[in-house]
Amino acid sequence: MPDGINTGIGASVTRVEDYRFLTGQGTYTDDINRPGQAYAYILRSPHAHARINGIDTTAAGAADGVVAIYTGADMQTGGLPCGWLIHSRDGSPMHEPPHPPLAQGKVRCLGDQVAIVIADSLSQAKAAAELIEVDYDVLPAVVDMKAAAGGGTLVHDDIGTNVCYDWVIGEEGDVDAALAGSAHVTEIDIVNNRLIANAMEPRAAVSDFDRATGEYTLYTTTQNPHVIRLLMGAFVLSIPEHKLRIVAPDVGGGFGSKIFHYAEEAILTWAAGKLARPIKWTAERSESFMTDAQGRDHVTTAKLGLDANGKFTALKVETMANMGAYLSTFASSVPTYLYATLLAGCYTTPVIFANVKAIFTNTVPVDAYRGAGRPEATYLLERIVNKAAKEMNLDPVEIRTRNFIPSDAFPYQTPVALQYDSGDYMATLKRAQELHDTAGFAARRAEAEARGKKLGLGYSTYLEACGIAPSAVAGALGARAGLYESAEVRVHPTGSVTIFTGTHSHGQGHETTFAQLVSERLGVPLENIEISHGDTNRVQFGMGTYGSRSLAVGGVALDKALDKIEAKAKKIAAHILEASTEDLEFNDGNFTVAGTDKAMAFGEVALAAYVPHNYPIDEIEPGLDEQAFYDPANFTYPGGCHICEVEIDPATGVTEVTKFTAVDDVGRVINPMIVAGQVHGGVAQGIGQALLEEAIYDPEGQLLTGSYMDYCMPRADNLPSIQVAHETTLCTHNSLGVKGCGEVGAIGSPPAVINAVLDALTDFGVEDIAMPATPARVWQAIQDAKA
C-alpha cells in the first residue's frame, strides 16, 4: 500500500466525506439556491378521505407575491407508477389504481396533494395557501386493514375492492398435511407495527427548466436519481432522459423512504417547465410525517409444525399488508418477494406456505423501510420459534440449533424459492453467546432481582437476502426494472482516478469504501481517488442504493470495471516494458516483469495511455477509462445472531436495554469501522421499533403521531452501547465475497428485544406483548396477567 498505510480492503480508514460534513460544508438539497428561484408550498388534504367538489383559488391567486397556483385540473399528467407487478393466486394482475401527483377530484389520505402555490417567498406562498377554498365532501375513512379487506368503504371506487392482490407462495396442501401430521403445532398472532423512517433531513426539491436547451433539472433528496429520472420522465411527465437531469446531492439519510418517486418531484419539475423559473420546496417535519412513505404494518397469523424432537415440519403464514391509499414505487414487492421468500430463515423447515393480502386503506402509502419485508419475516419466525420452544419445554437456543441449516449444507435450496450460497449460523450464535457472556446471565438476573428489577435475555438468529438480483429472475417475478449496477473507472493522465457509480451514498460512506476498493486494486492513494455519484448527467446509469446493494452489486460492478482497467493497463505496460502480459505482475500499484528488475508504476501507464507515443496503438485505443455493468447471479445472504438483555422496572413498566450483542456475517468486510456503524444504526432502529416507535391513526385517518411530540424517536439515553462482531463466510457468487450490512441491524434486532422482554416478564405469566413494548404496555400486560 502507498506509504505503508493500509487504505485497502479491511482497513478502518476514517471517512473521506467527513471533513465537509463536520465543517458545515455539505451540500444538501435545501442548501441549493438557483438564481431567481420561487418557493412552493403544497396545500394538502386535512382529511383522510373526501370528494373535492371545487377549489377556488381566486383570492389566493391575487395575494402578494404569488406567481402561480396549480391544482389537479391544471396538471393532467401520468400518475406515479409502481415498479413491481404482483399477480394474485388466481392469476390476475394486482389492482393498480391511478396515483395522480395532484388530486383528481378525490383525496384518499391525510396529506394528499391538493394544490401547489408558487410565490416569490415561502411566507407569501403559505399565506396565499390559506386563502384557497377547497369544497370537500368528507367521506368515511377506512383505516383498519381487516375492515378494509371486508369491503364497505372503498379507497378506490373503480376497482371494487380494497384488496390490491391476494398472493401465495408454496403448496398449501403439502403444508396442511405436514401440520396435520406434526407432533405439535404452535400458533401465533402477530402485528408488525407501522413505522416512519424519519431520516433527519426532510425531503426537499429544487426544480429548474432551461428554455434555451429544453433541459429540466431537479435537485432532489433521493437514494436513486436514475430511477427517478426513468419513472418521472417516462411515466409521469413524458420528458426524455437526455432532457432531464436529476441530481441527488448530499442526502441526509434515507432508510428506504427516499427510494420512491414522490409527487412533489413531479409537481415541481412540471411547474418549473410551465414557469421557466426555478422552484424550491422543502418539507417541514410535520409534512414528512404525513407524506414520506411509511414502513412495515403487517398483521399475521402463523402456524409452525414440529415433530417430537422439536424439528420444524411446516410453516403456514397468513399476512395482511397495508399499502396505504396508493401503491408507492416498490410497495407491492415488500410483503411478497422481500418477505415470504425469507420465511425459511436459517432453518431447515421443509415446507412453507404463505398467503399475503395487500390492502388499501385511507392512510399514507406504505413502502420499504430499512429491511423491507425481511424484518417482518424475521420477527414472525423468531417470535414463533421462541413460543414453540416454550410450549415444548425446550431451551430457545436448543430449538434453534436443532433446526439450523448445517454449515456444510450450502448451497441450500429453501422451499420458498431462494438458494442460499453460504453461511454458518452456529458460528455466529456461539460467538454472540461468548461476547455477550450469556453464561453470566443468571448471576446478573439475580443481582437485578435483588434490586426489584426483572432481567430478560432474548435471542434472534436471523437470515436475510439482499443485493437483490438477478434481473431476469426478478423480471419473471414482476419487477419492471433491471437490478444490475454500473460503474465507470476514469483514470486520468497523471494517475488519479474518478469513479462514477450508480449507487448513492446518504450516510453509508461510499466515498470511502469504494475508494478503498480502488486503492486496493490500483495502489492509488485515497486522496487521488474521487467517487462521483448522484448526478444523472455525470454518472452513466444506476439503480441507486437500497436493499443493502451498494457494495454487493455496485461494488462488484466497480470491481469488474477495475478488472478491465487492469487488463488494459497490463497490455500498455507489457508493450512499454517489452514483455508479454503473462510475465507481468501487478502489485501495490506497480507492474513488474517476473524475474527481472523491470517495473512501471501505474501512474506512468496512465500517462502513456493519454500520451500514446510509445503505445500499442494497433491493438488498443488510447485512454484509460472503463465501464462495467454487473447483474448478480443470486441474492446475497447475510445472517447472524443478536442477543438482547433488558431490565424491566415492574413498578413503572420501563424497559431498559442494558446489553446488546450483534454478531453478523456480512461477507467480506471492506471497512470494519463503517460496517460497525451500519450495524449500530440498524440495531438502534430495531430497538426503536421494538420499544418506542409506532405510527398510529385514529378511526378517521388522522395521524396521531404526527410529530416528535408523539412519535417516539430513539435518543441517546434510550440506547446502550452495542457490541458488534463478525463471523465471516464469503459470498460465493461475487468477486468481492461481500454480502451487505446496511439492514442486518434492523432485521435481526426487534425479536431479540421482544423475546428478552417476554423472558423478563415470565414470572408474571405474560406470554405476549405488542411492539412497541412501551412502559404503558408492559405495565398493562403485568396487570392483565395478574388479573
Partner: protein, 263 residues
C-alpha cells in the same frame, strides 16, 4: 409564522405599556413554547414584547423565601448556588426540564404563565406554596393555576418573579412522556411549615393539582411506602395514546413514593 411588530423595552413598565398599546400583544420570555406555537400558525400576535432587556432575571434570598426573577432561565435555576443550597429539589427539577438547549433559553416566568399541563414548574409552585409576583399584585399558586393553559393573569399582566418559601425538604420525580419528554406524570413532594404538600403535573385533565390522598397518607406517616400505598383515583386524569388514566394514577403513586425517598 405570521409577521408581527417586535419590541424590546428596557423595563417591565415599558413592556406592559407596549403590550397594552398593541392590538394583540404578547410578552416574549424564552420563547420555547410561544415560538413553536407561532411557527405552526396557531398564534398570530400583532406584537411581541421581548422581556430580555427588562432586568427580570436572577435569584435572591429574601428571608424565608427564595425569589426567582421571571426571566431566569431553567439552566440558571438549575445551576444557581442559592437554589441548590436552599431548595435543592427545585434546582433538580429545573435541571430536568426539556433539554439543555431549551434550559438555556426557557424561563420560569414563561413556563408558569403558559401553564402547560405537562410542564414541571407548576408542580413546584403548588407543592411549595409559591407566590407569583406580577406587575400588579401577588397571587398564590393555589389561585394562580386555574386550568389547562389557563391562569389567573389578567390581560397584559406580567409576571415579574416567583417567591418560593423554603421547605424543610422537597423532591420532584418525573415520568417523562417517552416521545416529547414532557411530564406524563410529575410529582413534587414538599415538607413545609403547612404540612406535607404533594402536587401533580402531567396527569390531570385540568392541569396541576394537589393529591389529597397522598398528602393525607404522608401527613400521617412520611414514608415512601405510605405514598405508594395511597390509592390515587383515575377520575379526572388524562387518558391518551401514551398512557391510560389508570396507568397515570398508578404512576402518581410510584413517583410520589420515589420523591419521598429522595427527600
Amino acid at each position: 409564522m405570521y409577521d408581527f411588530n417586535y419590541h424590546k423595552p428596557s423595563s417591565s413598565n415599558a413592556a406592559a405599556s407596549a403590550v397594552a398599546g398593541a392590538d394583540d400583544g404578547k410578552f416574549l420570555a424564552g420563547g420555547q413554547t410561544l415560538l413553536p406555537t407561532m411557527k405552526q400558525r396557531l398564534a398570530m400576535p400583532s406584537d411581541l414584547v421581548d422581556l430580555a432587556g427588562c432586568d427580570l432575571s436572577g435569584v435572591r434570598v429574601d428571608g424565608d423565601n427564595l425569589v426567582i426573577g421571571a426571566m431566569t432561565t431553567h439552566d440558571a435555576v438549575a445551576t444557581s448556588a442559592e437554589v441548590q443550597a436552599h431548595i435543592p429539589g427545585l434546582a433538580a427539577l429545573a435541571a430536568g426540564i426539556g433539554d439543555q438547549q431549551v434550559r438555556n433559553r426557557g424561563t420560569i416566568g414563561g413556563s408558569v404563565a403558559n401553564n402547560d399541563p405537562a410542564a414541571d414548574y407548576p408542580a413546584a409552585c403548588l407543592a411549595l406554596g409559591a407566590t407569583i409576583h406580577t406587575d400588579r399584585r401577588t397571587i398564590t399558586a393555589e389561585d394562580f393555576f386555574t386550568g389547562m393553559f389557563d391562569t389567573a393573569l389578567d390581560e397584559g399582566e406580567l409576571i415579574t418573579a416567583i417567591a418560593f418559601p423554603k421547605p424543610a425538604a422537597c423532591a420532584y420525580q418525573k415520568f417523562p412522556n417517552p416521545a416529547s419528554r414532557y411530564a406524563l406524570v410529575g410529582v413534587m413532594v414538599a415538607k413545609t411549615g403547612g404540612g406535607v404538600r404533594v402536587a401533580v403535573t402531567g396527569a390531570g385533565e385540568n392541569g396541576v393539582f394537589r393529591a389529597a390522598e397522598i398528602e393525607a397518607a404522608l401527613g400521617a406517616n412520611f414514608s415512601a411506602d405510605a405514598a405508594a400505598g395511597a390509592a390515587v383515583s383515575a377520575d379526572g386524569l388524562n387518558s391518551d395514546l401514551h398512557a391510560s388514566a389508570e396507568y397515570r394514577a398508578h404512576l402518581v403513586g410510584v413517583m410520589a413514593s420515589r420523591a419521598v425517598a429522595a427527600c
